[in-house]
Amino acid sequence: MNAVLEINDLVVEVATAHGPMVVVSNVSLAVGAGETLGLVGESGSGKSLTTLAVLRLLGTSARIASGEILLRGPDGVLDLVTLPERRMRDVRGGRIGMVFQEPMTALDPAYSVGEQVAETVRRHLGLGRTDAWKRAVELLDRVGIPSADRRAHDHPHHFSGGMRQRVVIAMALSCDPVVLLADEPTTALDVTVQEQILTLLGELRDESGLALLFISHDLGVIADISDRVAVMYAGQVVETAPVHELFAAPRHPYTRALLRCVPSPGSDRLATIPGTVPTFDALPLGCRFAPRCEHAAAVCEGAPIGLDTVAATHFARCVRIEEVVS
């Protein structure tokens, strides 16, 4: 498969008082056109930082220490890690769109939603004010804002959370990106609205052949939209597989534990994973999940564990898969 976006061995460091601390360890991911990769994990597992790293929006406290982020296009391959900042700006909002978790705060309160979409259009497509506004209205209409031509003049505070998220999606898609990064886009929304936004994102992906990188901590949402899933734990990808395989035959003990935590009708007890996620300054040398794992043994602890091939498209970072599955 020729991936549109390919992340290889990405390492992200956060500056602390005691020097740099690695929070994303050698993460490799790939998403193809028209495909959705679901990235799942608890808060602090490094999934948001991985996405922000793709756009190089890590801020001042975190930085990409090594690795490559390849964006394939008709004009060749760009490595976003080394791309000059000025050209990176053409990628942001142009080739790669991003949808954020908090629709209530993601929009500028001082400008109308139409202007905020049109601004992106003017920036990347070089349209004049009138044409950019027309395109903004079309986009708002496409993402399901009722009477978009009138509502485009309204400011964000006139919209509900779900409607604002639609505006953010319109903005992210305004310049026909090839990749859409969606960082927990439904987490802050009501369940019924969640469903609508998921459907919308799925439709838009299928219409334009977008590569969608979808981040969530919610396995139900991930199952709904993804083609493939990568599970992250403590800064590492611990398992990656096609969505049906991951849910039907999870291999990594963390994935299995996560799936057990999904409440099911008929059982009144909610399963939990014992213990807590290790902090990044005190990571185990071997398997990072070992301290919480019911299958942990001496082999898990000595040295870092690599991603093992389970099947052609299924990988897991566990040395005791045989014992775990049986």
Partner: protein, 314 residues
């Protein structure tokens, strides 16, 4: 919006009326009798009575207030007790000086304060930022009459670069006008630059952490556009408040600065008329200063609605 403006204007009228009452009443509290000032200590009781009658000082209070108020509404603030010069005309003669001084100082404070504050905020923690924090603390703490005297001594007396006192009308040569205003404006603006820079920095640092700034960056906008178009507009709300306060402060401080630099403005007129117990002159100048402050506050309030459309609803 129009309804908001109308409502604010109505409050403004009421406010100015209350102030007019206070201004009128204030004069009654000033100790001493204006007739003594006018006639000297050796005046006969007959002379005093005659003068009091001609000045209308023996009329009932309400009548005196009404006479003053109706005059003021028509732009007639009475005549000076000392020179029988119309108050309105005295203010008109001198307002150019004070306006030149205050407006220049305000423009300097706002422009310099914003530039410094923004540069400090975008490189938060850098050397310029730390220098700004130090400099603004000094600027805020420094009494401005003292700064004025230092500037006079150094730039005026030692280096001879600028005149140390007096005023030149712009009509008599713009260069001369600028030179005469240079030291007083710098003196007056120093505190304002410091306050505005500090507020702009703090407010922009907070705003730059907000989600919508990250959204703007994710759209591929340039740093100039992210800060200038998006972050700054929200960050300006508290800065505008400080600017509004600066206008009142600059007017207040201009009294001192006009004294230090011997500028013939409203401030020095106000001081002189208080010493002379020239009641109509005091009333006129204080009323003018109040109206200016009230109008500036109105403009500040209205600007909130533009900066933050959410506030326009209330």
């Amino acid at each position: 919006m129009i309804r908001t403006v109308a409502a604010r204007l109505a409050t403004l009228v009421v406010l100015v009326w209350v102030v007019s009452l206070a201004v009128f009443a204030l004069v009654l509290l000033i100790p001493g009798d204006p007739t003594t000032t006018l006639l000297g200590d050796n005046a006969t009781p007959e002379q005093v009575t005659a003068l009091r009658t001609s000045l209308g000082l023996d009329d009932p209070l309400l009548m005196r207030y009404w006479r003053w108020l109706s005059g003021a509404l028509q732009g007639d603030l009475g005549t000076s007790m000392l020179s029988s010069y119309p108050v309105t005309q005295a203010i008109g003669d001198r307002i150019g000086v004070t306006v030149s001084l205050v407006v220049s100082a305000l423009v300097l404070s706002v422009v310099l304060g914003l530039v410094i504050g923004v540069l400090a905020a975008v490189r938060q923690g850098g050397w310029f930022d730390r220098l700004t924090l130090l400099g603004s603390s000094i600027g805020i703490a420094m009494p401005n009459f003292w700064l004025g005297l230092v500037l006079v001594t150094f730039f005026g007396a030692e280096l001879g670069l600028f005149p140390t006192s007096g005023y030149a009308r712009p009509g008599d040569g713009v260069g001369d006008w600028v030179a005469h205003l240079m030291l007083p404006v710098v003196t007056l603006a120093a505190g304002g630059v410091a306050e505005i820079a500090r507020q702009a920095r703090a407010s922009l640092v907070d705003t730059l952490r907000l989600d919508f700034v990250r959204t703007a960056a994710a759209k591929g906008l340039s740093p100039l556009s992210i800060v200038g178009k998006h972050a700054l507009r929200t960050a300006m709300i508290p800065v505008i408040t400080v600017m509004g306060l600066q206008v009142s402060r600059l007017f207040g401080m201009s009294v001192l600065v006009e004294a230090v630099f011997a500028l013939p403005g409203i401030g020095s007129l106000m001081v002189a008329s208080v010493f002379d117990r020239d009641i109509p002159m005091i009333q006129g100048t204080v009323l003018l200063a109040t109206v200016v402050v009230v109008v500036v506050n109105l403009l500040v309030d209205l600007s909130y609605g533009w900066l933050n459309p959410k506030a326009a609803l209330t």
